[in-house]
Amino acid sequence: MSRLQELFKDRGQKTLLMPYTTGGFPNMPECRLILEAFIRGGADMIELGVPFSDPLADGPVVQSSTRQALQQGIIPDDVFGLAREFSSRLPVVLLVYYNSVFSYGQEKFAAAAADAGVDGIIVPDLPVDEADEFIETCRGHGVDPVLLVAPTTPDSRIAMVAEKASGFIYCVSVAGVTGARASLDEQLPDFLGRVRKQTNIPLAVGFGVSEPEHAAVVAQYADGVIIGSRLIKMVSDAESIETACREIEMFLRDVNQVLA
């Protein structure tokens, strides 16, 4: 059983808290501080982004974080290094655009991820019908390939994802890019119900989840909740990294209360 499977199995009634930040944002030392704040805030798992020049699935907040990381010269190996530092303490999942994997070499990328203790890899621009080789390569290295479904995904494609997914399924809460939104999509419960009907694999919900109230709704239907843009914005808006980390920690504690 993979570490992700165990984590979800042992979760009891708690919906898992899975905060995201971009690896190397705003720079390497401060990124470590942010990840420490994630842990203090009660994160069950960390999602780390591998910065890419053209992040199609991301809104302005995450875009600017990847740009800053790239300006620091961050490369995939740096993010593997970061993952290695934290993966002994809690599960780490990478979010990486397909060209970064392709350029690194699929086999080499999966091997490096496994070596760094990475538990899962999410590729937001690799839909299930393009992912066979990637899925097999990840599995070969004991890393869970995390597949995505969206509210627009028909039942026939959910079935394909259900058949091939492992670790958890990433449910995109809304048609759109990442970024904080005022409210959740009204259709979310229906959508998650459609997915649940076809699989027992844990479901994590991301995109647009930015308030404890959102998380409370998600917790009724899903096994994990992913929060990213809201946390990155706290870093961008704060006067100092120390302030940002305090805010992140407090915010995550608040969220965690509604997830228990």
């Binding site: 020049s53 053209d54 199609l56 397909y98 350029s103 690799l126 627009t152 494609r157 890019v177």
Partner: protein, 394 residues
């Protein structure tokens, strides 16, 4: 027959899951409509009465003489299409698809503004609201086209991310599409993007080659020996070449932008200097750094200023079916002037790249050669930039 999604290893659909169902819907609609009699008749009628097709195949005698070329040179006059470039062939076709699919909004990306204008024009023709994404840098250098799009009733959305050119406009258009995918149709302007777009755009542009083939047979009684076209994303090149590709004897050349020189790092030669990668939904040759970060392209012509290329071109390159060469900014500018003076035709800077290539190696063509150059667009949009570069204007 189902629309091709792969060209050898190239192509595919590397986009977020959210839009995959829309790509399936488009594939299904195109499969159903492309051989439908009513659809074909309506498209043909619009190409004739609205676009102004067929465009002439013009024998450029003075260009031949002034370049010292022994082979005859023909120009396929896509510059005479309504809106001034070949782009309209594709947008009229795609707007017909959008209408038949019941979409009530269209979006597009644009570099030089030609595809934006062509989309805005076709959208106006069908009365469908339209938003065009355009990089801020391109907005500065292609002001005329911005005004045209606005006059046509389109909303022009400036894109300030990245290099502020075509690549970033396309990122932003895809993000819009992901958000509004249920009722919005995305009109991709080149033989790029996720499947089925590369095949759809090629099919709509192949009217160029179909006409050229008939025309050259009529005037010369034989096929051309050489076909030359510029390649940014590569839609005008593929449109002209596709109906001839089965011919073994024809020499096909695609001309990429060498910008300030291939060794300067400032160019748009994705096939010449790129390597395999994924950009904007398909696997193809891409300009990228050793870690897979997409590089900024450079060309004096906004339409060739793109770090990727259509996946079918990558495959044609690997097969050796089409040769890819490149032309610098300054060579393109020279050809811009040359064609204007020799033939009274001011070409788009994009098309000037193809003319420049033929001029550069004019003495290599045989006596009995027949060259067709795709004159993909007219140069009105480029006169300010050319004037500055040539020192005609301050």
């Amino acid at each position: 027959m189902t629309v091709t999604s792969r060209f050898g290893p190239y192509g595919g659909r590397y986009v977020p899951e959210t839009v995959i169902p829309a790509l399936d819907e488009l594939t299904e609609a195109y499969d159903r409509l492309k051989d439908d009699r009513d659809f074909k008749d309506e498209l043909a009628a619009l190409l004739k009465s609205f676009v102004g097709r067929p465009t002439p195949l013009y024998q450029a005698g003075r260009l031949q003489e002034m370049t010292g070329c022994r082979a005859r040179i023909y120009l396929k006059r896509e510059d005479l299409c309504h809106t001034g470039a070949h782009k309209i062939n594709n947008t009229v076709g795609q707007l017909l698809l959008a209408r038949d699919m019941g979409k009530n909004r269209v979006i597009a990306e644009t570099g030089a503004g030609q595809h934006g204008v062509a989309t805005a024009t076709a959208a106006a023709l069908f009365g469908i609201p339209c938003a065009i994404y355009m990089g801020e840098r391109d907005i500065e250098r292609q002001e005329l086209n911005v005004v045209r799009m606005k006059l046509l009733g389109a909303e022009v959305i400036p894109v300030s991310s990245g290099s502020r050119t075509l690549k970033d406009a396309m990122n932003e258009a895809i993000r819009d599409w992901v958000t509004n995918v249920r009722d919005t149709y995305y009109v991709i302007g080149s033989v790029a993007g996720p499947a089925p777009y590369p095949a759809i755009v090629r099919d709509f542009q192949s009217v160029i080659g179909c006409e050229a083939r008939e025309q050259i047979m009529e005037t010369e009684g034989r096929l051309p020996t050489h076909i030359v076209a510029c390649v940014g994303g590569g839609s005008n090149a593929l449109g002209l070449m596709e109906p001839f590709l089965a011919e073994e004897e024809i020499d096909f050349t695609g001309i990429e932008a060498a910008g300030e020189g291939l060794d300067s790092g400032r160019h748009g030669a994705s096939i010449g200097r790129g390597r395999q990668g994924v950009l904007h939904g398909s696997l193809s040759y891409v300009l990228q750094d050793p870690h897979g970060q997409i590089l900024e392209a450079h060309s004096i012509s906004a339409g060739l200023d793109y770090p990727g290329v259509g996946p079918e071109h990558s495959w044609l390159h690997d097969l050796g079916k089409v040769r890819y060469d490149s032309v610098t900014d300054s060579e393109a500018l020279e050809a811009f002037t040359l064609l204007s003076e020799a033939e009274g035709i001011i070409p788009a800077l994009e098309s000037a790249h193809a003319v420049a290539f033929v001029a550069r190696q004019a003495d290599l063509y045989p006596d009995d050669g027949l060259i067709i150059i795709n004159l993909s667009g007219r140069g009105d949009k480029d006169v300010h930039q050319a004037a500055r570069a040539l020192g005609i204007m301050e």
